[in-house]
Assembly symmetry: none
């Protein structure tokens, strides 16, 4: 009935994950050795392999949490009445997530360049977001039958903008003011949405 206290094993695994975040932050995915992780965790070399098969397995653990948050954000209900509020909510959600998990996201994307599993996870997460945004755009621009870019392309572009801006800013450290940055993203997204909704594409 009572919450069981963490076992020794759980504590060790947790220390390994924390140590890995530190090592990845300081050294990057490729440069970080198992040695760097166990040193920071204060455990022996061999202990690492009691918990994880290798560095990738540990990262998978870390990434899954972040990925879950992202999926939740994509799946959350989208308020149809307050368009601008909905946009701002999603954008700041993404920004907060990047700010909170910069290290894991950076490492994830780095690993994605070499490891198909991480790459697929990224591609899927992104696709989910794009699909969601495309549906939203389609609903708004249903009336427009004229020649115009597909909602999917516009959605892909808007999602690319938000994720890459957040990455450059919060992961790579490009300096930005939070309010100004979010305002810019909301502005671009919102005007694009208006444009589609107004079906004034041909007149731009």
């Amino acid at each position: 009935m009572t919450a069981t206290p963490p076992t020794r094993a759980e504590r060790t695994a947790s220390r390994l994950r924390l140590a890995a975040r530190e090592a990845f932050a300081e050294l990057g995915w490729n440069a970080a050795r198992v040695e760097d992780i166990v040193k920071r965790a204060g455990v022996s070399h061999g202990t690492f392999y009691t918990y994880y098969d290798n560095k990738s397995a540990l990262l998978r653990d870390l990434v899954e949490a972040s990925q879950g948050d992202l999926a939740a954000l994509a799946a959350a209900p989208w308020r149809g009445d307050d368009v601008r509020g909905a946009i701002e909510h999603v954008i700041s959600g993404v920004v907060d997530l990047f700010a909170r998990d910069a290290v894991v996201i950076k490492t994830w994307l780095q690993a994605a360049r070499e490891d198909d599993a991480f790459r697929d996870l990224y591609v899927d997460s992104r696709a989910m977001f794009v699909r969601r945004v495309a549906e939203h755009l389609s609903a708004a621009s249903a009336a427009s039958g004229r020649r115009s870019p597909s909602a999917r392309s516009v959605a892909a572009a808007l999602v690319a903008m938000v994720e890459h801006f957040a990455y450059l800013w919060l992961v790579l450290g490009e300096p930005h003011d939070r309010d100004d940055a979010i305002a810019a993203l909301v502005l671009v997204w919102g005007t694009a949405l208006n444009e589609l909704a107004d079906a004034r594409l041909a007149t731009v």
Copy 2:
């Protein structure tokens, strides 16, 4: 009278660069060994080091060409009279460049995660673009005195959108139709520009 034919050394260096592109394309920056390059170039291991100090030096050679194209694009005159035409020109320029040099760009960005020189080159290239676009936006929105996101943030967002979309599409292989994709990017960029120019920010 005649253009001098390439010397043997020039031919060998050129074969190494070509082989490196292949190796990077197939194996990625980290996994590609000098061995993989020389095997493809059909030269001995030692020959590699006659031309390049190491893998990074070779990539630098490849990247410099692409980076030069990018810089040229950013520096090219921006036609003030045909706004939409100018946007389309820049966007398709970036898209063409990514399409042509997908391997080099992919490798460059991969190396940028571990090597400061490549990272700085990327950061500088991007900054150049953002600055250029921000100037363009500022000119267009000069009249607007109302509270609005800074031109720099909007520029950063738009450039992030274009480069990341191009990357996802042409480097990572996300499927898109060329015309539709460019139309989407031009739409978003153009409406954002209009919005700033009309100074209707507060009413969105």
Copy 3:
């Protein structure tokens, strides 16, 4: 109660040192590869680097012991009453040290030609000896005010004689009878000392 037995690590390190002496003896400092050492020690290549950063680090370990013995010899009290006995004691001390540690000394001097750390250690060891002998000579020849070589030069010459003779004999293998060799060194040293003491320099 009992002295702790050597740990596995201590035993391995010790085997590496022993193996290195063998390898240096057979192949010389430059020709001896890490491979030659680990083969003789019966450990894997990687194990070497668990204990030493490189070949030089291992030699440093070996040299420090010999150098310590040499320093102890130079620092030991010098019996003032029995001049000849003192000389003989020092000379046979040096000879014994060279005989015991021929391999290490040979390797040390070989490495000293390329590695400043080893060179400095040799220069310092020698300087210590020379200084010590010069003081001894100065004391003996204090009465002599006439123009004569400085005690330092004579000391440098005598120390050069002993160390190089020992080197030629015990390291390079020039054949000598121990008693005869020591008698010769003691003779030369002793007569030089007498000469200085008698202040008969100008009459030679």
Copy 4:
């Protein structure tokens, strides 16, 4: 009839030897690469092998000249009437030779640690000197039949002293004043000779 001017080949070979001296002086025997020699000589890599089979062959050329001077010194007549003058003559001869040819001698001795041919040349040169000095000492001490070190051992010690002192001073750079240094060497050598001649060995 006229002295033929040096052929191109002779000039190239000569430049290689000069360049090698420079390279050995700056880098030492082991560190100096064929590359370092040809660069200084201003010839191509391949040209080196037109003249010498390898680095050792070139050094052999350089060493033979120095070795010839040494042999000449050892073979020169020894003036029986002026003992002190003879000693001084030989010692300053050795010193001058070391001063003049410091680089070649240093390189020779360095190579002698790894190459038997150079080692044998050194051993033979030294033996020749020792034999010569031993004969001289024997003549001087012929009357002495008492238990004493053999002339050969004393000769070996004296020669060791002179060569090593000269080496430390003129090759390794131990600082000495020329007159004082030669006076010290002459003093030690002379007193040893006197001692043997006086047959007062047992009374020291």
